[in-house]
Symmetry: D2
Subunit: 273 residues, 4 copies
């Protein structure tokens, strides 16, 4: 089974590049299932129900979220009706929605997707992602051996620790949240595909999706400058994971990184330079 996982979709630019490239990439890679991290789809801050529907309409099977899950209020209702949208598992009891789901595609074995959020540098105070995912994986393994874990976290240490922790227990551990693709994709000795971060689908002439001028201004003034989604050429970041249907072991992981060329002189976008 081949699974495409797209990193954090950011704003209109991210949604559009996903819409444009998802179909061709599914065809080229022969992917059987598609997972998308959508926590920044709505201008960088959360995602609406309508956007989820549009993303599913592209042929996406599961949408994962993250620390921005609740930026758009309506998602708290929608997530309870749509099990294919998941938020990090390790939120407190009573949190809307769930932290995992299993989808089944035409005669293939079930595909389980779990998301956990790291705690190091996290804006939220959450439960232990290690114990949470360990228990959930044990439960999910009773219905399928193909399990993809989205580790939404900042610190490379926490992500690598989780990767090793789950090696041999799941098909893949893929990181999200930093909006920058890492080059460390690997199949760990136990058979788990791993990458520290898949990266972003969104405007690359930006600071992790937001307007460069505003982001730099915020850093340099420390005033509450309101960030806005950048525009301009897109970057598309994904990984293709290949899994043995019988055993759930990964047999391949391949990075996909497409950076659109700017059609207008970029230098002019940023006043000072």
């Amino acid at each position: 089974m081949r699974i495409l996982f797209f990193g954090d979709v950011y704003g209109r630019t991210g949604r559009e590049v996903l819409a444009r490239r998802l179909g061709p990439l599914v065809k080229e890679t022969g992917a059987h299932a598609v997972i998308v991290n959508g926590e920044n789809a709505a201008g960088g801050k959360g995602i609406t129900a309508q956007m989820c529907r549009e993303i599913f309409a592209l042929g996406v099977d599961v949408i994962t979220l993250g620390n921005h899950a609740w930026d758009k209020r309506e998602i708290a209702t929608y997530i309870d009706e749509e099990p294919r949208v998941i938020r990090p598992l390790n939120y407190p009891p009573g949190t809307p929605g769930g932290g995992s789901c299993v989808v089944r595609k035409d005669g293939r074995p079930g595909l389980a997707v779990v998301q956990v959020q790291g705690r190091v540098f996290s804006p939220q105070l959450l439960e232990d992602p290690f114990r949470a995912v360990e228990e959930e994986v044990e439960r999910l393994r009773q219905s399928t051996s193909i399990i993809i874990v989205d580790c939404h976290a900042d610190a490379t240490s926490e992500k690598q620790a989780l990767g090793w922790f789950l090696d041999g227990q799941v098909s893949a551990v893929v990181g999200t949240h930093t909006h920058v693709q890492t080059a460390d994709e690997v199949i760990l000795p136990g058979g788990t595909a791993y990458i520290t971060d898949v990266g972003m689908c969104g405007p690359w002439v930006s600071v992790i999706g937001a307007e460069r001028e505003l982001a730099v201004e915020r850093f340099m003034t420390q005033l509450p400058v309101r960030l806005e989604a950048a525009t301009g050429p897109a970057i598309l970041s994904a990984v293709l994971i290949e899994v043995d249907d019988e055993t759930g072991r990964a047999t391949g992981i391949q990075r996909i990184l497409e950076r659109e060329v700017a059609t207008e002189p970029l230098a002019s976008l940023f006043g000072r330079w």
Copy 2:
């Protein structure tokens, strides 16, 4: 001018893989200068004067440090005698050593190297890296137009903001500190080569260099478990930056990532799995 930049050298494994591969890589790439981040050379925690000397003896021109700069006390003395070892520029006035240096190789124009440390999630409380580097770059540009900035930081947002901020002002902004190479190398529109993180030179069967079991234990117990440098096969992470000698503009940036194959069954290294 071609410059090789090696990411955080971690422990014995890191020092050894650097010693083994630096020569061949210089030959293959035709590099004219070599920069190494050495903040984790001594078992993950700092670097000794002797290790600096050994690294220079390999043909390295400049060693940069980072938040681990002072883990080995003796460096505070050594750094005042050896200008080719630099620590982040934005430490308070009176900090031992300097935050930049200029080296000159056989008839070529000077090569300036600057290091700044990010403040987001930083264990130290430092001065503004944007203003600090802006001023330093202006100063350095009076003696050379080839300037490499090592941005030692956690947050991808801060690193990208600094990259855009310096675009057109320096030859390259390369990130260090996370120990994971990113796949976003690019020449920004103003002519500055950029990568969010160069990655680590050290043991890859590890949690950013440290023993996996200990790191996982620390995350799961929250006890003060003492981390130790891992052993086993090495990963080597570097970038090759090509710069126009006249203008200082980057003409190329290329990632180098070598992951040694394990010669013993790795799965057995980690008890549980």
Copy 3:
């Protein structure tokens, strides 16, 4: 000279208790000058120009702010026109307003007020408060020896360190920001009055000013629950500092803490209990 310093005024309840009690307290204590921390006057988030005017109209001489300084946008303009409103000194160059001011009351020596913001756990990334205040105090001492420093910070360690650092250099170091008065008022051996935190003027049936139910809900759900200013009985927190006009040395510091009795059954305010 006797100076009254009122801690963080929070929301309508805080503004009202200040309006009600300031006059009587000035009379009782014979205070010659009044300083108020106003960063939470507007529903807990910043302060408006109109609120500043109303507070000055009560007989207040200087308003200090803090990390919430810019929550109401208009203050960024107003602070440039009204030097008696000050924000933390250690914001970056170019920040609206100033970090200190000197007021002069009928024939008495000038009273200088400085504010710095701590960096430990701070939501903003700021310059070193120690060096910033040291330099400012040196400058201010040329025009007066009566200097009050408002240290707006979270960590008791940073506040105490600043207190000792300035002992003998200023008349008083008083803390703000935590919204809880501390009981450690003292005159340090060098002659500087010190208290770790003056405390809050606002609704005490609250979580540092905000509605209890919402604050507890936010802690327990980790969802972006919007906090609102609480209502109900007020607490008023202040200190009276007595300073020798000649030397600027403090001769006394006295806590003032008034907790209004609830006129309705409080237990009923919080659903569960």
Copy 4:
């Protein structure tokens, strides 16, 4: 029942002032039980088994710890043998020791003591203190209605939220960890005594217990300066809680703060001033 609670005992100075003053204070107040926070007894960093024994020998009934619990390794063994030493309840499963205990004094009803650690700004990543304490309190109430909760935390918001959360469920919520006594002691409307922080027993010419020069140096250099316990005159910080034996409701809470006078000129202790 009257219970004396002493805040964080820091170093030799703290142990000595406790030894000197505990007996007299028990006599003066007629206290029936004594609780001591001991996390900093060993030079500021943890506590040894021998120190625990000495503190118990003074007539102390329960020792609570905190984030420094494990600084001295041996405590991890000792705490499993000595149930009267407790660490924060909300550490992960498998942590040595327990988070609560019940002691019974000559014919009186049982006294339960629970400790939780806050998560805001915490160096450890812990489980939700609200749910943890809620469950534990429910369990403890089956054996006694006299329950004292030590909330070891930094943020005043988290401590106040926990106080309100437990109001009516426990006899008292007393804060520790900041080393500064707060002046907000109160009996909440539901009958729970509350104070944000009890404060420290240790050397007051210090930065929360450590040598002033070293602490200031660390703030101003951001180098890994090793802190040492200060010496000189002591401060003793405690609260006396009065509880109705039948109902467990608090009927009184009274702060105790004793600051020893310096017998030598203090100003000379700190070089610069």
